[in-house]
């Protein structure tokens, strides 16, 4: 290759060498591109018209099954959802982050933290989120966070395991407990519960009130019919605590929906005033016995696609942020300052100046994300357990599973690959056109 070491070349020899030199520089790359990209692409297109064995020409049959097989149509539907949601979301988050980091002193640290997941494989990111998304709130971070929020929001005295203290009360926590005896206005309802874990009754709860009959009203009490040492069931005794915040309903004895409902006071007392004459039953509503929060099933069939999307956004938000931040730093400060001087609010500056000026960058990010989302593969495989993979299916994964994951149908697999290729063609054309315009 050391051309200058060669003896001075003749005219034609020199020209031939001039033609040869570029070829030598290009040859390795051309071999790679032709053998590993161009030939296989052509071969895949041809193969997609043949059946599983590879020798039987089947025309468009593979493409027909692509749009009629259940797992494949799920994959296409999911991918449509991915394209509709994720690129826009990632671009928006990137834009917001880029604009906000401009105003803080530790923007470099922030950007590094958000950009970091880009260095991680999508597969490992998937494993990370599979650990995060575990259903049991004592294992999965997401559900643990939701549990904290859930417990903070729901009333403190939620009863989970309470049972009637005497046969006077029947029912179950899921339907609510009903007093067996019919109550009429002027009557009293005593509703004792036991089997309540100490944590579910505030330590400073007052003793239960003893309701007295009142004309035209039904008064009562819901209380913890138990005290250290026991106590007699069905009788309100000193030292037995009232249960506050319990939902109580008044139902017609003949059946039908509740005519009135109320919530007990801290000492467990409740009162229905102005009750019309008739027979009633008093019930503790099922809503009182809220089940403990056992976690959202993120990895189940219903939520698996959103769960994978969240993981994916976590990975790519940094990419969008960094590209958009670079575009932002290229915007002239004077333009922004001029708008502010003219009295524009920060929101107007953002909406009317920053975003329009960033439009080219935003579209680059958006299009890049569309391409990436069409090819999404690894992260689905690692977030979704085997049992939800059919529900989380996407085109690239369907292609791989059809070709190499057990089915081993190269004809159908090729058709899926060609379909994927066709989907990226518009972007391919866009890239080429943009380049030719720049030249």
């Amino acid at each position: 290759m050391e051309a200058s070491a060669l003896p001075a070349a003749t005219g034609t020899g020199r020209r031939r060498r001039e033609r040869l030199v570029p070829l030598l520089f290009l040859a390795p790359a051309l071999v790679f591109l032709l053998v590993w990209l161009v030939y296989p692409t052509v071969r895949t297109v041809v193969r997609s018209f043949f059946g599983r064995s590879g020798s039987d020409f089947v025309g468009f049959d593979n493409y027909k099954s692509l749009f009629t097989t259940d797992t494949l149509t799920t994959a296409i539907k999911n991918n449509v959802l991915w394209v509709a949601v994720v690129p826009a979301f990632v671009t928006a988050i990137g834009l917001i982050f880029a604009v906000l980091t401009e105003r803080i002193r530790w923007s470099t640290a922030f950007k590094t933290v958000v950009f970091m997941p880009m260095a991680i494989s999508l597969f490992a990111a998937g494993v990370i989120w599979r650990v995060m998304d575990q259903t049991d709130p004592s294992l999965g971070t997401v559900n643990a966070t939701l549990k904290v929020a859930h417990d903070a929001l729901s009333s403190s005295g939620a009863l989970t395991t309470a049972q009637p203290s005497s046969p006077a009360l029947t029912g179950s926590p899921s339907s609510g407990f009903v007093l067996r005896a019919v109550v009429r206005p002027g009557g009293v309802a005593l509703m004792g519960l036991t089997a309540i874990p100490p944590g579910e009754v505030p330590a400073d709860a007052p003793d239960a009130a003893r309701p007295l009959p009142r004309a035209g009203a039904i008064d009562g009490v819901v209380w913890r019919d138990f005290k250290p040492g026991g106590g007699r069931p069905g009788v309100v005794e000193a030292g037995e605590q009232g249960l506050g915040g319990v939902d109580v309903e008044l139902r017609p004895a003949a059946g039908g929906s509740a005519v009135a409902s109320t919530t007990t006071a801290a000492n467990g007392s409740f009162s229905f005033g102005g009750v019309r004459p008739g027979d009633y039953r008093v019930a503790i509503a099922a809503s009182t016995f809220s089940a403990p929060f056992d976690g959202v099933n993120w990895l189940g069939p219903k939520l698996i696609t959103p769960a994978v999307m969240i993981a994916y956004v976590w990975v790519w938000a940094g990419f969008a942020m960094v590209i958009i931040a670079a575009g932002l730093s290229a915007i002239s400060r004077e333009v922004l300052e001029a708008a502010r001087t003219d009295g524009a609010t920060e929101w107007q500056v953002f909406r009317r100046v920053t975003v329009p000026l960033l439009a080219p960058v935003l579209s680059v990010v958006f299009i890049t994300m569309v391409i990436n989302v069409l090819k999404v593969f690894d992260i689905v495989l690692s977030v979704a357990p085997q049992s939800s993979q059919d529900d989380a299916n996407v085109i690239a994964l369907a292609m791989w599973r059809t070709s190499f994951g057990g089915v081993n149908d190269f004809g159908l697999g090729s058709a899926i690959a060609v379909f994927l290729f066709v989907l990226v063609l518009p972007v391919l054309a866009l890239n080429v056109r943009r380049f030719r315009r720049e030249q």
Binding site: P40, R43, M116, I120, F123, A325
Partner: protein
């Protein structure tokens, strides 16, 4: 991580200007107070972005006996719980250590090869005259977005026929090929920015193209070569689909871990540390070379 990753790497490093030194301190304090909520909001977001990775690290430190019973935050509450036992176990697990070695081989070998091939071609597209150059380059650009799924089936057949199946070499060659469109694009665009005078004077001095390439272009192109190398290294280190398709016993880390995830839950004490190991190395490379980016950029922007 793919085509536009290069711009990303550069932008992270972009120096931020802070030219507000002459301000009275009262105004600065006032602004800081006004931005308190913003700082809190961004701090919360930063934590949200940090927690998943941190959670995996701390999960991997939980004792194998309690890993399926308690969350990683127990390690924060009781640091004495943390143990390196799981890591000791995976380093004694020959499947994992050999996968690690395979990953290193694939990533290093293929990065070197790609940089060489892409620089050669990039130079030809930037500075050599030949017929059809622009058309050929448009072809390279067209290949930028081709999904690798279109090549899997034919290459699978070729590899089985030629004995490249289940070899490190087979994986390396595939990665080089699919890294090339971006590599050539990046190199050509960087090389074309080298001032014409430098090239002309070298040619007038009678230097051969090869000599110009090795003595002039490669040293000048070092920043671009570095970023291409890092992207390709990360890309192949992190690959799953290629190795899953063209390997059986030749397993990089991702595939080795993947084969374990089928029984996720019963073996988190293996999956968590192995996954963290597989992501720690690219993370270190990324953080280390982020600084390299800054230096290269600053040197470039002074000119």
């Amino acid at each position: 991580m793919e085509a536009s990753g290069q711009a990303a790497g550069q932008a992270v490093a972009l120096p931020r200007e802070r030219a507000r030194a002459g301000e009275p301190w009262a105004a600065r304090v006032g602004r800081a107070v006004a931005r308190g909520p913003l700082n809190i909001l961004l701090a919360v977001l930063a934590v949200m972005w940090l927690v998943p990775t941190l959670g995996l690290l701390l999960t991997s430190l939980l004792p194998a006996t309690s890993i399926t019973q308690e969350g990683w935050w127990n390690v924060v509450a009781h640091p004495s719980l943390a143990t390196w036992e799981n890591y000791r176990a995976i380093f004694n697990n020959s499947a994992i250590t050999s996968a690690l070695w395979t990953t290193v081989q694939i990533a290093v070998f293929n990065t070197v090869l790609l940089v060489v091939v892409a620089s050669l071609a990039g130079y030809a597209f930037a500075w050599l005259d030949f017929r059809g150059r622009d058309w050929l380059f448009v072809g390279v650009i067209a290949l930028l977005v081709v999904p690798l799924q279109v090549a899997l089936i034919p290459i699978f057949t070729i590899y089985q026929d030629t004995g490249l199946f289940d070899t490190v070499l087979g994986l390396v060659l595939f990665h080089v090929a699919f890294g090339l469109p971006f590599g050539i694009f990046l190199m050509r665009n960087f090389f074309i920015g080298i001032p014409r005078d430098i090239m002309e004077s070298a040619r007038i001095d009678g230097a051969s193209e090869w000599r110009i390439f090795t003595r002039l272009i490669l040293p000048l192109g070092l920043p671009a070569i570095a970023s291409l190398a890092i992207f390709q290294f990360l890309w192949t280190w992190n690959d799953l689909i290629v190795a899953l398709t063209f390997g059986r016993n030749t397993q990089p880390l991702t595939v080795a871990i993947f084969s374990q995830t089928r029984q996720f839950g019963s073996n988190i004490e293996l999956i968590a540390p192995a996954s963290f190991l597989s992501l720690a190395i690219p993370l270190v490379v990324f953080l280390a070379f982020q600084r390299f980016f800054v230096q290269g950029l600053l040197a470039g922007s002074v000119k």
